[in-house]
Symmetry: C2
Subunit: 82 residues, 2 copies
Amino acid sequence: MTQFMDVHHGMQGLTAEGLKEAHQADLAIEKEEGVHFEKAWADPKSGTVYCLSEGPSAEAVQRVHERAGHKCDEIHPVPLTV
Amino acid sequence: MTQFMDVHHGMQGLTAEGLKEAHQADLAIEKEEGVHFEKAWADPKSGTVYCLSEGPSAEAVQRVHERAGHKCDEIHPVPLTV
């Protein structure tokens, strides 16, 4: 399993409730792809959302986001943490 | 105090030791700017580093990174988390 950071752009105006709903939509189906979304951080002004997850591949992470209705724009494995 | 996510590009080939040293360089001076760097995640292949911090402003976060020798390329406040 690898940790991934993915980034969504264009989410201007996102609310706390909207972020929570989007995260719940990921959590509801993530097990089917062997992924777990750990945390997300959002800047509603620039419309940027960062999601930290763990999963078997970047493709699996993207499949969860896509099926939940919010495909991400970038995904990077982040094998190094401090 | 606000949480910030900042991003560094061009860090291809970064090692675990290099990330640790860079983080320690931030920690050594962060108090002077009222900032705290909480966590960082790195993808040595694409050269991308994400840093999560808390501080009074994006400028203060950038000043720490700049003084530590590794100015970041983007900083976003992330007032929403889940």
